[in-house]
């Protein structure tokens, strides 16, 4: 379990990094916190010719707000976000979710850009960004583009990122009056990747929920929106009968992949349990 040989670059500026990527893209891998990449290298599941360490790119470490949004630099670590009062205040859903990512040691190295680029279907941050309808800034030497979270995740470890692009920032809408955000997941042990999880964002009002976005993790090849359940919840008050119906609906709506440890029916069941818990929390 030793990585194959590779060359190592540590650019000091974003321009330099993008230039390296433009030249070596396909044969290079970006390394941020290394919390996923190093395991891939040591298992020899990845064998890039060179690593481009973006750790010194201070441009990617900023956290800023305008009146409607928060912009998070791609290199901010899970622990940076967890400790940020701005995130706790404006993005409570994200704040809650981060506590579920691994353990302090991993949170002190792992980055938001790395997590999103890795696109583990059970990662918390991907589902949160999807529920919050976030956008990602992807930059290359030639180009800058914003991609919606819903268009970014393409499959297990598959994203819209091109070989010469860096995920530079994440843009998420701030909470609004009356908005709610619930994050919950079920993992075997504290800090494990979840067997199933849910991120729910919506507006509450007299007529029940509106602008419902319900994202799920760990139950598909990528974070997904539970469209039918979202439509079912939209614009209606929540009561116990409806909670049962919603739980049944969501369990039927998803199609988790085969997994010898956690069969699809089990993950469907858990998703129903999570939704029930979330809606009960809303009711109380």
């Amino acid at each position: 379990m030793k990585a194959p040989d590779f060359d190592y670059h540590r650019p000091e500026t974003l321009a330099e990094a993008l230039d390296l990527l433009a030249r070596h893209g396909e044969d290079a891998a970006i390394i941020a916190g290394g919390q996923s990449l190093l395991a891939l290298l040591n298992f020899r599941l990845a064998a890039p010719e060179r690593l481009i360490d973006i750790g010194r790119l201070t441009d990617l470490k900023s956290l800023s707000e305008d009146h409607g949004h928060i912009e998070i630099g791609g290199l901010l670590r899970h622990c940076d976000l967890q400790a940020s009062p701005l995130i706790a205040r404006e993005l409570p859903l994200l704040h809650k979710a981060i506590g579920h990512i691994a353990h302090p040691a991993v949170r002190h190295r792992g980055t938001i850009g790395g997590s999103l680029a890795m696109a583990d279907p059970a990662a918390e941050l991907g589902a949160c960004c999807l529920a919050l309808d976030g956008e990602f800034l992807l930059v290359s030497l030639q180009n800058r583009r914003w991609v919606a979270a819903a268009d970014f995740f393409l499959g297990v470890y598959q994203t819209a990122l091109r070989a010469d692009e860096i995920l530079a920032a994440v843009r998420l809408p701030k909470r609004r009056p009356g908005s709610i955000g619930i994050f919950d997941e079920i993992a075997r042990r504290r800090g494990d990747f979840a067997m199933a999880g849910l991120a729910l964002a919506a507006q509450t009002g007299d007529g029940g929920l509106s602008d419902v976005r319900l994202a799920l993790l760990g139950v598909a090849d990528r974070p997904i929106l539970a469209g039918k359940t979202m439509a079912f919840l939209e614009g209606r008050p929540i009561n116990e009968a409806r909670i049962d119906e919603a739980a049944a609906l969501i369990a039927g709506e998803i199609d988790p992949p085969e997994d010898p440890a956690y069969p699809p029916a089990y993950r469907r069941h858990l998703t129903g349990v999570l939704l029930r818990r979330a809606l009960l929390e809303l009711c109380s």
């Binding site: 379990m1 030793k2 990585a3 194959p4 040989d5 395991a39 298992f43 020899r44 079920i186 075997r188 042990r189 504290r190 800090g191 494990d192 990747f193 067997m195 010898p260 440890a261 956690y262 069969p263 029916a265 089990y266 469907r268 069941h269 858990l270 349990v273």
Partner: protein, 779 residues
Amino acid sequence: MSIGAEVPRDRAKRLLVGRGRYVDDISLPRMLHLAFVRSPYAHARIDAIDTSRAMALPGVVAVFTAADLDGAVSSWRAAHKLFPTMAAPEQGVLARDVVRWQGEAVAAVAAESRALAEDGAEQVAVEWHELTPVLDGNQALAPGAPVLHRDMTDNLAYETKITAGDVDAAFAGAAHVAEEHFRFHRHSGISLEPRGIIADFEPSESRLTVHQSHQTPHQQQDLYARLLGLPEHKVRVICPDVGGAFGLKHHLMADELTACVAAKLLARPVKYIADRLESFLSDIHCRDHEVHARMAFSREGEILGLHVDDLFNAGAYGQYPRTSIAEGNQISRLTGAPYRHENYRADLRMAFLNKSILGHIRSVGHPIACAVAERLIDLGAAHLGLDAIEVRRRNYLDDDDFPRTSTGGVEFEYLSLNPCLDKALEIIDVAQFRQEQAEARAKGVYRGIGVATFVELTAIGPEYYGEGGQHISAQETCLLRLEGSGTLRCYTGATDQGQGIDTGIQQVVADVLGLPLGDVEVISGDSALCPVGGGSWGSRGAALAGEAAMRAATTLRRNILSIAASLLQKNAAGLTIEQGVVVDTASGTTHMAVSEIARIGHFQPYSIPEGVAADLTVVERYATRDRMFLAGNGLQIAIVEVDVDSGIVMPLRHLVVHDCGRILNPLLVREQVRGGVVQGIGAALYEELRYDPDGHLLTGSFADYLVPMAGEMPDIEVAHIESPTKTSELGAKGAGEAGTAGAVGAILNAVNDAISPFDASIAEVPITPPRLLRALGRF
């Protein structure tokens, strides 16, 4: 008095500040690194191996296949003369033409670094021809199953029956028969430090020096000498700090032996450190039993009979040199052992499979024997409407039953079953728990309590391996050397893998000699320096090496006092040693320091008259006689909460009441018990080596093989009853198995108690969330 004192171990401080020295911390000049080409298939024929591309890589020094090592090393067979009908197929260092488990090594690459060796291993081209794998015992023993070994006609490694009394009559006359089909899945003992070795061969002196993370340096010395054809005194095995072993590290492992052969052939030091994936693939595994068991009861809850049928899913070979039979044998002999029942039958079938070798891991067989009987008692009591704790009490062997040979054939000198139960019930108020349980249930919270009584076989006597034909010392010898300054070195054959036995031995020696603890240094883990001994396994350190140390210290004390008596012109019988000073026993008057006696003894020996026993280096030995084991016992109570929506089990409280005879150091014993409980909770809830239908391991990293972590563990309370064994002067029994032995049964019973309102039950461990929800019919 230092025996019985709560002394923290010196080694712990050193390890904590990062000054540990494990095998991988050692680097020798000109050292090469070994990596293996391991089989990707569970069962396959090797048609050809091409090593030329690997050999051509820069940094690669040699590539070995089985054929390259012919003549350099012998093969072996794991046979045991006490089980003469057990099959013992031949095994060699590298697979020759058939691989029998995924991960079996077929070629070894020696290179200037481990990374380069792995580059080389990637370039070795093997032509495989896949064969049908045999993956569980039922399949292995079915007619027409592919046969693993050429010199066998089927996969039945061993079959036996134990009977006592009239089982059929007992069952026929029973008021109730509790019956259950259990599945205990395969796991392993996961040490923080993986297996590792550095072998260094010096050709001009024909001398092999091995540094190895191992439990039994003398056993390895003997094996390496015989298998490599070296005179034994030219082989030295040194075990530096060992980061956990749990039974993983007291075997001959083919890959480790390969490192020795490579060092011999290349005349350069060779290091091999198993990485985590290799550990999961090729370490010794454990458990993997399917047990069908029945217990017959009278209306009053008396156990009338017990029948245990065990299908033992062993590995591709028996482990060497001990063989793999003990786990099945312990289950056959120990199930129901704490109880007074006369009609007993145990059937055992052991099957070879295309999985890694399975063998002795901490508490061999005990957890299964315990869980089976304890679960049947709960089932029987529930059916009969009796209190399960009272059913236990009613059937416990009582003080006047001892000494006793159990129906399974195990000799018990004494078991403190009732005292342990009494103490446990003082600590946990079961009636109060039942009330809280009912209140919680009303709110939809499901808690349960589980009790498990266990016996613990420790300090294996010389009859087991001596009669078996293995060169495994069951005798312990202790050498004490009083230095010229009056401080002491103690050389023992027991080894320390983190359990702290060196501190226990230090306490015994200091106590007997009346020396300050800090004046005694214990040296172990070196087959050239230390007297021949068995190392540490099967909870033997305190009972055997402790007793040898006590004897040596007693002899040295006598010599010190006889020198003092002759110098002081007094009667030795009236003298004693306190805090390193010889004093008058009656008056307490101080006479002279031990350092003074040491100085005279070493440097002015002419002052001591002829005829006075004046040896300041002494050796004494100890071996038990006429007994296979020293038995300890105890009881565990687990309280858990089951989330019936997710199937997740949270242990809330765990109590162990334990009797290991005389306690050398309560701190060490408590930590042994707690560590054992955590390992047992791992087996009950988390740890499982899972394979796909082709025999490919699915749990090759800690992301998939779950170990218990601190966040999920309950506080583990430990209390003691002390019933010293009368077979030794020290009176200690072993303590390392207890936690693991009882935890699975306690957790299994607690979970079943928690889900009892749903009329559901589970008998499969680990109790994973999907398994539990299936049992509850939730999906």
